[in-house]
């Protein structure tokens, strides 16, 4: 066997100077040759850590072996046994925190590029044209309603439909996909990929109802009359604001609003698409997560000359993935660390003109283990801006809890659900993903969906709560 290369096979991508002028995806993905080369770096451990490192327990060495042997068809089939959204996960999963973190190769070298290989197989299958539909399972005569067509709900649907249950999905917005569609930008996750994966569910027999705000058009109790079980995957859709003076000035967006305008409503194609977005020359994004990176990079593509991220700690504490921070830096996003807005100042017409920031220093570690930012007195500074985006997080959307009084919620408004089965305090109702845990990642929502699907199946078979 040839010596394992120390580094991951590089993935070609659009040069930063070009890509900030378009909305096309940044990395191009592997060619079959590159994928095979990378797959050969996997040493097929007897006791692979990567499988346990994956929230949905994909047989990672298994699919990589198929790639190395050029059996792409077998590879994708094996991959899809555990993961309904490989094209999505291959792009947006934090692999460096999960499967790749525990890869043995990674001890001395760069780990095997598991995410890139996953993406390769999914993209390869899509390019082959018609996707194979598995034979229809024996019908169970049980019906399941899924509320919220995001990563958690999609995962539940994929499993329970394969086990013979009838599945109807309800989405509040006019397009399915949840955060994959309204939140994650096109240049990071092309929407066509998401829609194709959902279309695949439809081909498996899942019915999709968009424009359906459950809690308003139908209550959970009404759904329980029609369905044997319900899964709530309504996500973390309540944006946090800083609660500082001037935050309601024009030109200040929540990350949700900014990204929804840009992505779901396609404001980047304005005026062909009629939803406008303020295209400021100087845009400041507040926050240090992946969502903040998405906002700052979107601002550049909308024509910002200066896109600044204001974060109250340092680069080391930023919760965003390294890859996202790296892409943002390459594209020219400016990072203003150890700063936090204290106020926004506007003009006579109530448009934001300046952000006033407090300077911070790092103190003792807090509950999250990260060093707490402490304000430095009398060190405020101001920056001229045209647009501000508040990307400091979201709480679970309160619409379902507020219209379903007998469902138990936690102190953040999250629906309390058993992490192993997804069971809530209300018989027949399961929940998972951000609505239960608070804002987390796509793959964790999918992991919760996997477990809830098993919980639902068991309940449908036994009736035991």
């Amino acid at each position: 066997m040839a010596k394992v290369s120390a580094k991951k096979t590089p993935m070609r991508e659009q040069p930063p100077k070009e890509r900030i002028h378009n909305y096309d995806e940044v990395p191009f993905g592997y060619s079959p040759e590159e994928a095979i080369l990378e797959a050969q770096r996997c040493i097929q451990c007897k006791k692979p850590g990567c499988i346990a490192g994956c929230p949905v327990e994909i047989d990672i060495p298994g699919f990589i072996k198929h790639i190395a042997e050029k059996n792409f068809k077998e590879g994708i089939n094996l991959l899809k046994e555990q993961n309904i959204l490989p094209a999505v996960c291959g792009r947006v999963c934090p692999q460096e925190e999960q499967c790749e973190k525990v890869c043995v190769i990674g001890v001395k070298n760069e780990p095997v590029a598991i995410g890139r290989l996953e993406r390769f197989l999914a993209d390869w299958e899509r390019e082959q044209g018609e996707i194979e539909i598995p034979p229809k399972p024996k019908p169970s005569r049980k019906k399941v309603a899924i509320v919220g067509v995001g990563p958690a709900g999609i995962t539940v649907a994929a499993d329970v439909v394969r086990w013979g249950h009838k599945v109807d999905m309800f989405e509040a917005l006019h397009q399915p996909g949840g955060v994959l569609v309204y939140g994650i930008p096109e240049f990071r996750l092309p929407k066509e990929i998401v829609f194709r994966e959902i279309d695949y569910l439809r081909k498996l027999g899942v019915r999709l109802f968009t424009d359906s705000v459950i809690g308003m058009v139908k209550s959970i109790d009404e759904l329980l009359k029609e369905y044997h079980a319900i899964f709530l995957g309504t996500g973390a859709g309540l944006p946090w604001f800083l609660e500082v003076p001037g935050e309601n000035l024009n030109g200040i967006y929540s990350a949700n609003e900014y990204l929804t305008r840009a992505n779901l409503m396609k404001a980047y194609l304005f005026p062909k698409y009629k939803t406008p977005i303020v295209k400021g020359k100087r845009v400041v994004t507040v926050g240090g997560g992946n969502v903040a990176m998405d906002c700052a990079r979107t601002a550049l593509r909308l024509g910002a000359e200066k896109s600044v991220i204001v974060y109250r700690r340092t680069r080391k504490e930023m919760p965003a993935r390294d890859e996202e921070i790296h892409h943002a830096e390459e594209e020219g996003v400016i990072f203003q660390f150890l700063s936090n807005p204290a106020a926004f100042h506007g003009d006579k017409r109530n448009w934001v003109r300046e952000v006033e920031c407090i300077r911070m220093k790092l103190g003792e570690p807090d509950d999250s283990g990260r060093r707490r930012p402490v304000p430095i007195p009398d060190a405020n500074f101001r920056m001229p801006i045209d647009v501000a985006i508040i990307a400091i997080g979201n709480s679970p959307n309160p619409l379902i809890p507020s219209t379903t009084p007998d469902i138990e919620t936690g102190k953040w408004g999250n629906i309390i659900a058993d992490p192993e089965t997804g069971k809530t305090s209300k018989k027949g109702v399961f929940a998972g993903g951000d609505v239960a845990t608070g804002a987390a990642t796509v793959i964790l929502a999918m992991g919760a969906g996997k477990k809830a699907a098993r919980g639902i199946d068991e309940f449908l078979q036994t009736g035991v709560w």
């Binding site: 006019h174 999709l208 705000v213 058009v217 859709g237 309601n248 024009n250 304005f270 062909k272 009629k274």
Partner: protein, 278 residues
């Protein structure tokens, strides 16, 4: 790209111009008709390219499964809606959304409607009258030929008072002028609801505040999702930020920061002009 929308389109049963720039539209939406309550709204996207447009529900028929709304043709998306004909499919229609009016027996209730709000107060008038209130509706427009649903409103209310800026029907002036005159003449009004353009609602609030009459206005800020997800529709009430889509759209008119709502509503005027030119 696969079309994932095709099963959720909404058919137009009727669409006609009531008066210049104001249209009524009836759609087949049985699920919404079943749940609608006075004061709630829907979000319409006329075609794939349009904005998500919040519109107050004016009437509904549970048996027929229809929902009727009145809208002002003002931007490119409502312009597109105004072009649509019976049989056409609306790309997206979501609802009912928002909190309904808190309807109770208040005594004498004044309902003030202007523009699309004349349609907006219609169902509240019916419901409040049924609860035993004396319902006085105020209907206002620039001129007589811009008033609509006069007979419907007269049937739904105990009395309808008209105000036109040119004096062609009712008093010469605005509904708030008439309301002020009535209150000065010591008419006893226990509760007021106003729906229409922001300036009208602001003026109504200004008129009623010295008299301490509870006044509810139906806020119409820019919205996107309508489920509390984006915060575009945030307004300040009693020094607290509220989302009009889920906390409202009805708020205590005397506690609203009018300055913020007025400027936030105008945020996209330039873009609207560009959008209409293409």
């Amino acid at each position: 790209m696969p079309n994932l929308k095709k099963h959720s389109m909404t058919e137009i049963i009727e669409r006609k111009q009531l008066v210049p720039n104001v249209h009524t539209c009836t759609i087949h939406a049985p699920d919404i008709a079943k749940k609608a309550l006075p004061g709630q709204f829907i979000i319409i996207i006329p075609d794939e390219y349009s904005e998500r447009t919040p519109i107050t529900i004016a009437d509904w028929d549970k048996k027929a499964g229809t929902v009727t709304f009145v809208f002002l043709e003002i931007g490119s998306s409502t312009h597109r809606l105004a072009e649509m004909q019976p049989g056409d499919k609306i790309y997206s229609c979501t609802g009912p959304l928002g909190q309904p009016f808190k309807l109770d027996k208040y005594g004498t209730v004044a309902l003030v409607g202007g523009c699309y709000g004349i349609g907006g107060i219609y169902h509240a008038a019916k419901a409040l009258k049924k609860l035993g209130n004396k319902v006085i509706s105020f209907s206002e427009a620039r001129s007589k030929f811009l008033l609509y649903w006069n007979e419907k409103l007269e049937e739904a209310s105990n009395e309808v008072r008209y105000a036109t800026t040119d004096g062609s029907k009712g008093i010469k002036g605005h509904a708030w002028d008439l309301l002020q005159q009535n209150l000065k003449e010591k008419e006893k009004i226990n509760y007021i609801i106003a729906i229409g353009c922001t300036f009208m609602m602001y003026k109504v609030a200004e008129v009623t505040e010295p008299y301490g009459i509870p006044t509810i206005v139906s806020m119409n800020p820019v919205m996107i999702d309508g489920t509390g997800m984006c915060g575009a529709c945030r307004i300040v009430v009693d020094n607290q930020t509220k989302f009009a889509c889920v906390d409202g759209p009805h708020f205590d008119a005397h506690k609203i920061d009018w300055n913020i709502i007025m400027s936030r509503r105008k945020a996209y005027l330039e873009e609207e002009i560009i959008s209409q030119e293409r």
